[in-house]
Symmetry: C2
Subunit: 668 residues, 2 copies
């Protein structure tokens, strides 16, 4: 296929291909196959249809683009460079996958402006995109007026076979179909190749039919390699379908243009090699040396800069009109975009005294969520089909459904993984929305990949995880977290809270709402817990603090979290009555405590006091860091058992008597 | 619907219902709704169609039954009791969900003979069932002869809306369709209710059409409440379709028979209450007091005992014929069923010296897998589309595909969660098969729920997890495990190995193969690692051991795992040249070390030696338990970065120089 003179379209498409080919070759690492095959659809989308402003990557009303097949990131970096984003220069492309570059091995929103979400782990991007589309639908329903539309954009996705094999994408797409998210348009790069070879070896389902079953509008572009008009028509048809999300299956050739490697797994994830690149240059009629882009190509792509500025200016005019006609709504909208919270929002959080009724912390969580929801309208969320167990309903918030997108209760169905990824998308819409989601704590395992990405992507999703220990009782070991809290504490940038009462629950929510770049986990009890006079919101913000104490240097420090703080308090009272000097420390959040200065940490856990006993109804893994060599930990290092919660706690040693006994053993 | 005289069928079905109703009521905890609605399909299946031997729950050729909707476990306990299993007596049912009972809150294979797999976490059971059906298909293809079929059973599943919403079920069912597993028959209890209410709020996809897209044979029984003949016809039709798995959508009413609670979420997961039970008794014409089953019902159900004995006897005759005609195959088959390994299998594992070439431990893993595969024919497995990265192919093992089920390389596609659950199913077929599966270590997060169930269910699945640290390089933080090893160490009953060279890789595989009731994780490097003369298979079996040492009591102990052992060895040499007495401990498996007796542990880590430095390219979380208050840990407590692996390791401090510097700081 030697092309004598290439059309401008072809030159543009080949520019994308060779930026990818040459960057991967220089790095000797990366994935050229997808960019080579998907360049035509990406070109049509970015050049002819998508609305964005390269000089303001965060312009609110831009169309969102998600490369769910994140390994093909050179496609996205090429597009960002070609269309004139400042975030990706030619130098950045030359330092693809190198230390400190803005062109890491997979797209990372926190490294590269213009990248909306962090992808790479397959299936996450399409699920994020469902969240982005939900955010748009919600804000449009909430703010748009018949005569003034300030929220109006599409969410585009390119996903591959890998994404379509992952369960997380199925979960999210099933929900997207249910919700009828008409402005979500997914281009499925159907190239029949995954890392192990032809998809024939493991993936022969009818993807289009599956998406139809989900309620999507499905089209097929049979020649995604050259039929630009067909791609364009399909995207336009998808835009016209407003009551359903659209899947456009675009059949392509992976590594298109490489004479010997196209349509093989060999081109998926490795540099083509010098010889094959030479052959590919010849085959595609590409005469330019590495990293040289023809002037006419740049000029053509960079019309995006003016077009983007115009689009933004036009939108700003609309917004100005909106401001005039709907001042209150505009103020609210702009407050959200700034990421500000309403003043004094934290005053809504209740505090308690020991006179208040014992309640489960999941109940306190419900009270907090509803108190916050009443003052923070951008708080939206829901549960994976455990609303009345997790207690996460915003009362009066209505159900977010087709036709009622302005509502705030999200109904995720039994789809934990999709839920987490969708919440990442909602947060990364960067329009001020604060998403929360909920399931039983043990099922954090189902969505851990999404939770990790919350932490890595620096988004403050709030994970409400109830039934936080063997104390949940009868459901038994499949449902009883034992290792789960520890397994979450190890994730960097994730705040894990295990409050002991109502005031601490409020404290946890205060920190969670404030931290818009760190996700939070709320490990909440099923069972009722007493309230303490000594707990405080401020204490929670420091991660750990002295709850009760004796005069002078303590003989012993009891350290508890969540439902076990009460055991420590009672045991301390008993021990004090026998003349022991005992301090009780409540430690609702390890991470925050470790971030306090040394003086504060010393004030809570003086180095001189070596006798320390931790009590937590979970694994003791990690606790030695707190209790030290001379300390001890009461925990459970096996799976639980099916029995009433009180029985489980007692049988596994979570009793005041056992705390006293183990404390005495330390003191003796 | 007052029934004057009930047919025997109706009495039997109502017996199931009332055992569930009364057991849940007595426990004041549990899920009556599913058993009440699914009793008819369960009755037809267990009474008319399924082949099993109550007095020998492990009879090899039984049909497998999986209650994927595990919360409905009283359905299964009722069936086990009624059909005459010794594992569930009426007393057991009366102590439903109580401490020490054999009737826990969800079905647990390790508690209750007759329960094949542990379910409850939704979607797992159907994925396990795919594994059971794959095991059957493999053994049938391997052992059956045209004139003598010793492997020939169905795998039946009852799953609900929740299972169908979970991504893990989609992954597994897509693969089952691809593989054409004709003896897998799933009954979908289509009751339109999940915990949050009608499935209309979150789940309106066309499930049947989705399964058709997967390549399944799909039928619909419109009246699953009363049309017993229709249920039977559908199951028989499903059995007749041999080239595709079957889904039978059986539309039922949750809580069928309860006048006020049927068809509501209220009956899903709570006791009916005394009044409603009285009304339900009246409504269903059930005159018997709680836990009393009419004699005729027991007689009818317990025909299963004789039928099962006959079925087993008939099979044993076939096996006797097989033994005569195919002695070698029979010996092999029976060895597998006994769970024996071929003699001297472990001799196949290679050991190395420092003269051997440096290789990545993933490469050593490949060598071990192939060495073992050649002597252990029951070893089967594969990767989630990373075969040539994980290096998990059994050479010459062929691909397990439709028409070639005798082959041993499983092609999971990009379906980690389904893969893990399928491997649990293969192992729980209890026919001696040893399944392994593979992906990048960081994607343990995608299948963690299945890995937890391997550990809880006591099945020795081998998880080959390569690319085990930031050392994987350019793929960047989305692909770089940092917290993953620690997050797996916290799971009870899971062995986590991080070998440092070829000999340790062999040691890890030896332990993994031996442990048929504990799953193992092999954390293997992408990058090459030197071999040591001092490493040993025996050392690995103890979890940690002294690798190199100075004379006399050491001043300092360096403790490394995996790729960081080489840093410890080199740093120790340098320190010794400066006159320091330094011991190097390799610690490939924390769990095994913690299980050694105190004397052995003291011999490796003497209490008197307080200066200890651990080096592991992962979080330091948990290491203080090993290094103690006076020790130090080199690790990485943030996410990684995209750059060549060597650069990442160096930038994050994994260098000999840094180990020496930190060691000197400890010694000073």
């Amino acid at each position: 296929m030697v092309v004598a003179t290439q059309s401008l379209d072809q030159l543009c498409i080949n520019s994308i291909r060779f930026l990818a080919i040459d960057a991967v070759e220089k790095a000797k690492s990366g994935h050229p196959g997808l960019p080579m095959g998907a360049a035509p659809m990406a070109y049509v989308l970015w050049n002819r249809l998508m609305r964005f402003n390269p000089k303001n990557p965060q312009w609110f009303n831009r169309d969102r683009f998600v490369l769910s097949a994140g390994h093909g990131c050179m496609l996205q970096y090429a597009l960002l460079y070609l269309t004139g984003y400042d975030s990706v220069s030619l130098e950045d492309i030359k330092s693809f996958r190198q230390w400190g570059s803005r062109t890491p091995g997979h797209p990372e929103n926190f490294e590269t402006p213009g990248v909306e979400v962090t992808t790479g782990p397959l299936g996450q991007g399409i699920a994020n995109a469902v969240g982005l589309a939900m955010a748009e639908a919600h804000l449009a329903a909430k703010f748009n007026k018949p005569d003034c539309q300030i929220v109006d954009h599409y969410t585009y996705v390119i996903l591959g076979d890998g994404c379509n094999m992952e369960g997380v994408s199925g979960e999210a797409c099933s929900l997207a179909g249910h919700l009828g998210l008409g402005k979500l348009i997914a281009l499925y790069d159907d190239n029949h190749i995954s890392i192990d070879g032809s998809t024939d070896i493991a993936f022969t389902e009818d993807v289009g039919k599956r998406f139809e079953a989900y309620g999507w509008h499905v089209q097929h572009v049979e020649d995604g390699n050259t039929d630009l008009a067909g791609i364009q028509r399909a995207i336009e048809a998808a835009k016209a379908v407003q009551d359903r999300p659209s899947l456009i299956k675009v059949t392509t050739t992976i590594g298109y243009g490489s004479p010997n490697k196209a349509n093989t797994a060999g081109v998926h994830g490795a540099a083509l090699g010098e010889d094959e690149i030479t052959l590919t240059r010849e085959n595609l009629g590409w005469t330019h040396p590495p990293f040289e882009i023809p002037e006419e190509v740049l000029n053509h792509f960079r019309k995006a800069v003016d077009q983007g500025a115009s689009a933004q200016a036009e939108w700003e005019e609309t917004l100005a009109t909106y401001r005039t006609q709907y001042a209150a709504e505009a103020a609210e909208f702009e407050r959200m975009l700034r990421g500000d919270r309403p003043e004094h929002w934290a005053d809504a959080l209740p505090t308690y005294t020991s006179a208040d009724k014992a309640l489960a912390t999941r109940k306190h969580s419900e009270i907090c969520l509803n108190a916050l929801a009443s003052v923070i309208p951008e708080l939206v969320g829901g549960s994976a089909d455990l609303t009345h167990s997790n207690l996460t309903e915003i009362k009066g918030g209505g159900d977010f459904q087709k036709g009622s997108y302005q509502n705030r209760n999200l109904r995720f169905g039994v789809r934990e993984h999709g839920m987490g990824a969708i919440c990442n998308g909602i947060a990364l819409h960067n329009s001020g929305l604060i998403p929360y989601c909920a399931t039983f704590l043990v099922f954090a395992d189902y969505m851990r990949a999404a939770m990790r990405l919350s932490a890595l992507s620096e988004v403050g999703v709030i994970y409400v995880m109830t039934h936080d220990s063997i104390g949940l009782g009868e459901d038994g070991p499949t449902h009883q977290p034992v290792e789960t809290v520890a397994s979450l504490r190890v994730i960097p940038n994730l705040l894990v809270f295990r409050p002991c009462d109502g005031t601490e629950a409020s404290g946890a929510y205060k920190v969670a709402i404030e931290n818009r770049q760190r996700p939070s986990v709320m490990a909440m009890s099923r069972q009722g817990l007493p309230n303490f006079d000594e707990t405080s919101i401020e204490g929670v913000s420091k991660g750990a603090y002295v709850l009760t104490d004796s005069e002078g240097t303590p003989d012993l420090i009891l350290i508890g979290t969540g439902s076990e703080v009460q055991l420590c308090v009672s045991a301390a009272e008993a021990l004090r009555s026998e003349g022991k000097k005992v301090r009780v420390v409540s430690m609702p959040c390890w991470d925050l405590f470790s971030e306090q200065d040394a003086a504060y940490r010393e004030s809570v856990l003086p180095a001189a006091v070596k006798k320390r006993l931790s009590v937590e109804a979970g694994t003791t893994f990690g606790w030695q860091e707190i209790v030290g060599d001379a300390g001890d930990s009461i925990g459970i290092n096996r799976f639980g058992a099916s029995a009433p919660g009180g029985t489980c706690l007692k049988e596994f040693g979570f009793t005041v008597e056992n705390v006293i006994a183990r404390a005495k053993a330390l003191l003796s």
